[in-house]
């Protein structure tokens, strides 16, 4: 009983205040990788939907590798692999080096590439789901293929896949916890530090769980709000009270 109360006290007095300081790192990883990953997803999806094998074959392989291997091995490959190769090159003496000595930027790199693969596949499905009549309508208006892509296909594809893409951001938020394995002090990294300091297993884990649940809850709400505003036409209509029909 005493151990239990002591653990709760430790959770609220020591663990949670320290874990909260790591929230910006987790959010930074999520937002930076999310933006870069979603931007990279666009060329991947476009290449994947192309009929030219020079374009779609590499895109297919990229998506297969990103979705077909664990994120953790991708992260290790980039962190340790590049860490092994880069010091022998010009990068060692360039302005990039101070950044490349931190795990954080390797994690951003790995998460961005991974998200690009997953979201690229999501966008591909969206691009293929754009109703053909809308593209024909654009053509009837004399739009060029480029204009049709930017004005009709892409906005439509994003709106069709918005719920799935929002889910992908939540998955990314959870996946950033892997950065702790390459010495990044995100929430899980701080948990490891707390464990090393106190040799307590459960209070740091429970503290991290509380923070992750809160973050996921806030993100879900925010993304739902974005979705509601962008997909206003696809929401169920406001109930209309009809006047009683008279015979």
């Amino acid at each position: 009983m005493e151990i239990f109360l002591d653990g709760i006290k430790y959770l609220f007095v020591v663990a949670l205040p320290y874990l909260i300081t790591a929230i910006p790192v987790t959010l930074g990883l999520t937002l930076i990788s999310g933006v870069i990953g979603n931007l990279l997803a666009l060329p991947v999806a476009v290449a994947r939907t192309s009929h030219n094998p020079v374009l779609w074959v590499p895109a297919y392989c990229y998506i297969l590798v990103m979705r077909g291997t664990p994120l953790l091995i991708q992260l290790f490959f980039i962190y340790y692999g590049l860490g092994e190769l880069l010091p022998g090159t010009w990068v060692r003496h360039s302005w990039l080096w101070p950044y490349l000595r931190q795990g954080f930027w390797y994690a951003v790199f790995a998460f961005s590439l991974n998200t690009a693969g997953y979201t690229g596949e999501i966008l591909r499905v969206g691009l293929n789901a754009v109703p053909h009549g809308e593209i024909e309508a654009g053509r009837a208006f004399g739009m060029t293929n480029r204009l049709i892509f930017w004005r009709i296909k892409l906005p439509r594809a994003i709106r069709i896949q918005l719920p799935t893409m929002a889910g992908e951001v939540i998955l990314l938020l959870k996946a950033t916890s892997l950065a702790s394995t390459i010495t990044v002090f995100d929430i899980m990294g701080v948990r490891e530090d707390l464990f090393a300091q106190s040799f307590r297993t459960y209070p740091p884990l429970l503290g991290a769980a509380i923070i992750y649940i809160t973050l996921v809850f806030v993100f879900t709400r925010l993304l739902y709000w974005v979705e509601k505003h962008l997909n206003r036409d696809r929401l169920p209509p406001e109930p209309v009270i009809l006047p009683l029909a008279t015979p």
């Binding site: 077909g68 692999g81 959870k174 916890s177 991290a208």
Partner: protein
Amino acid sequence: MNPNLSNWDLLSYGTTGYSDELLHGLWLTIQISVCTYIVGFCFGLLGAGMKLSGNRWLMRIGDWYTTIIRALPELLLLFLLYYAGTDMVKGLLVGLHLAGEDFQINAFPAAVMALGFILGAYMTEVLRGAILSVPKGQIEAARAYGMHFGLRFRRVLFPQMMRYATGGMGNLWLNTTKDSALIVVLGSLPELLSATRGAAAGTKHYAFFYFAGGCLYLLITVTSMIIQARIEKRLNRGYRRA
């Protein structure tokens, strides 16, 4: 000189190379994944049954299970469930004087149970959707014939719901093989990623070995995708393709 991707001796089979370690890791990863999948399927059936039971408390427990597990990172859950699970079992056995203080639980079942419990939450949602997709009239017809629950489940519900569940379950199988790599953080089982990390750290040929390990994971994925396509084709026999 590029020290990477040139030294094929590193992949020889035996004491000098690391092929045997990697292939044993691959085999262990497959074993862990299959066991995790079976455990996860059982938790999933249980969860889906609870969520559709109509009993307020069972439904509430099912909701908590899927919501909390799916909101937390798998890495955190693996730590939490692995330690909590082994501590509880050990506490129980020591408390009952069935084992001494130096008793240790095998990492394999502990990791499989932890990963299976996580997978179960995702499986619950897939199976719940599949059960709801089976036309209600079919269940009513089975009831009208006087079939009891076991028979209804075995002859009517299960075969039809599996047809709807294959897509989602195929994705979850691929997730399971990938999530098994998280076990590397526990440092207690030489599965594929652990073996890869051991080889990479032992030889300092990081890029080379993580590339090789990635290829083996890709092998699992591609094989699974081919098998999945076959299973889907078989389950959909007798249905006209849209």
